[in-house]
């Protein structure tokens, strides 16, 4: 197994990444894993190790302001998607893969769907606790940061340590947003979609409502898998790992297997 740290050249500067490549890659797809900022890095590392063991080259990367990727100003969500499209293209070219499987956690799941809805040649997208507008933890934190900012910028960074850095340096601005229903519908025609939640996740109800609002054919293409008696957001990640792992394994298996 080869584990290699590297930088991905992008139009926004070098993005730090870690690739895990099996000695004998097999199949035609490589995997791109998308973290939700700092959150979810541990579980994505475990998933990458697992998938690489099964023969798939895997790449994880840090958004600007996270890890060794330096940040120069804020990025909106559409800009994050554009950056990820560049990264996906680079990874596909580096591995020579015909297609990519995208595995995203939280905000990373949202960006994975947006990428699949655009030009990224994704065969499959697995989203772990996709945040849904107005219910997601990240949205509530952002709202909280904004309200705290109104009282004084210094306070915000103290009240929500870490989040501020992502928000400032590589995160989200709400003046430019993506449409989840539109992206889901487009992604569903391009790739297999599997969304994972726990039945205790607050975003689950909202996500079901979003799916019901989709055209009938897109509804049928969105596969929702719910883990009973669990929350995938805010719970120790390792507790859910074996279940998530099996769900991803099934989703990435070739059609008909």
């Amino acid at each position: 197994m080869i584990e290699k740290a590297t930088f991905i050249p992008t139009s926004r500067g070098p993005v730090s990444a870690v690739a895990r490549v099996p000695e004998s890659p097999h199949g035609i797809q490589a995997v791109l894993l998308l973290a939700g900022g700092r959150a979810g890095k541990t579980i994505l590392k475990l998933i990458a190790n697992d998938l690489a063991d099964s023969g798939l080259p895997c790449l994880r990367f840090d958004y600007p302001g996270v890890g060794a990727t330096s940040a120069d100003g804020s990025l909106s969500e559409p800009q994050l998607v554009a950056l990820t499209q560049e990264i996906a293209s680079w990874w596909q070219e580096t591995t020579g893969a015909d297609s990519l499987a995208l595995v995203g956690h939280c905000l990373g799941a949202r960006i994975a769907i947006a990428c699949a809805a655009r030009d990224v040649p994704a065969s499959c997208v697995v989203g772990i606790h996709l945040p849904v507008p107005d219910t997601s933890i990240s949205r509530r934190i952002r709202t909280k940061v904004r309200s705290l900012d109104a009282r004084g910028p210094k306070l915000a960074s103290r009240f929500v340590p870490g989040v501020r850095v992502i928000d400032r340096a590589g995160g989200h601005r709400d003046d430019e947003t993506l449409s989840l229903p539109e992206d889901l519908a487009a992604a569903a025609t391009a790739a297999r979609l599997r969304l994972l939640y726990g039945d205790g996740d607050k975003a689950l109800t909202s996500f079901r409502a979003v799916v019901e609002s989709l055209p009938q054919d897109a509804q049928g293409a969105v596969e929702l898998v719910v883990k009973p008696d669990a929350r995938l957001h805010g719970m120790p990640e390792r507790d859910n790992f074996s279940w998530i792992r099996s769900q991803i394994g099934e989703a990435l298996a070739p059609h008909g297997s």
Binding site: I2, E3, K4, A5, T6, F7, I8, P9, P14, S16, V18, A19, V21, P22, E23, S24, P25, H26, G27, I28, A30, R38, K41, K45, P57, G65, V66, G67, A68, S70, A71, T94, T95, G96, A97, D98, I141, K144, L148, P153, K154, L155, S157, R158, F159, V160, P161, G162, R164, V165, A169, P236
Partner: protein, 283 residues
């Protein structure tokens, strides 16, 4: 699909990036630890090793990398190695001991010396907040090395009080009426996460023990401490008396009304006085 060796070659080709005045590299050390190295393009005049903080490593990392990138064009080769279990480094965070963190700092220095092909340059270990104790210990174990502290948390009891206060205001700001005290949970044998890090009771005890043995430390090399306020700097001066032969304490003259210590917002302000101090030391 390309074969593994071809993919590896392509990954290797982009593992270093040329910046203005230095080259930045990312790599895994033999021990499985993840390292970010800053190599000056001019003559290397000193080595700087970051000792990541115990609890605040994730929030401080961008600023610490910022210090390394700002120092490199002045001839200061720097390295940031994530301790075992942190970020990309292998290991389990809750099982990581202080000794392992110190080994990581030594490995970092070894890698930096190897990459710069010299071992006889002035060396500094850097630590912000709870990383300061690690930096002091690391400097002591490499005789003659200096240390740089930003808002050092030398006293475990006061440090935990600040963290608890921060958690309390975060909790209230998040809409919770009561804080589930993670320190209490650890004492009761439960698992706990503090500032986003899973932490074990043993790790807290170890930090307390090392803090209690502060007076055992002696630093031969030059020491810089950057404090948030004049009042805090007076306390740091007192702590360094008898510990460091050559200590400089600078105050950022902030108004730390909340008493929570250096935040991610304040930290970048410490870079400029640190660079000035480097210039005076390196001539």
């Amino acid at each position: 699909m390309r074969d593994a060796r071809t993919i590896e070659e392509r990954l290797h080709a982009t593992a270093s990036v040329a910046r203005e005045g230095y080259t930045q590299e990312v790599a895994f050390l033999e021990s499985g630890l993840y390292a970010v190295t800053f190599l000056p393009t001019s003559t290397v005049r000193a080595h700087l090793v970051v000792c990541p903080a115990f609890l605040e490593h994730a929030t401080l990392q961008p600023t610490e990398l910022g210090l390394l990138s700002a120092s490199a064009p002045f001839g200061v080769a720097g390295i940031y190695v994530q301790p075992p279990g942190v970020g990309e480094s292998s290991g389990t965070l809750t099982a990581t001991t202080l000794a392992q963190r110190l080994d990581a700092a030594s490995s970092a220095l070894g890698h930096l010396r190897h990459r710069t092909d010299t071992s006889s340059l002035p060396t500094w270990f850097f630590g912000a907040r709870s990383g300061a104790i690690l930096a002091a210990r690391a400097a002591q174990s490499h005789g003659g090395a200096g240390a740089i502290f930003w808002d050092p948390a030398f006293e475990a009891e006061e440090y935990f009080r600040q963290v608890r206060r921060l958690l309390r205001v975060s909790s209230v700001a998040g809409g919770a009426l009561r804080l589930k005290d993670p320190f209490q949970a650890l004492r009761e044998g439960s698992r706990a996460t503090i500032l986003g890090n899973p932490v074990s009771a043993e790790q807290l005890s170890e930090f307390e023990e090392v803090s209690a043995r502060w007076n055992d430390i002696h630093l031969d090399g030059p020491v810089l401490a950057v404090a948030m306020t004049e009042v805090v700097s007076a306390g740091i001066r007192a702590r360094l008396q008898g510990i460091a032969d050559d200590a400089t304490v600078i105050s950022l003259d902030k108004r730390d009304a909340t008493g929570l210590g250096m935040s991610v917002r304040d930290a970048p302000e410490a870079i400029a006085p640190t660079l000035s101090w480097f210039r005076t030391k390196l001539g």
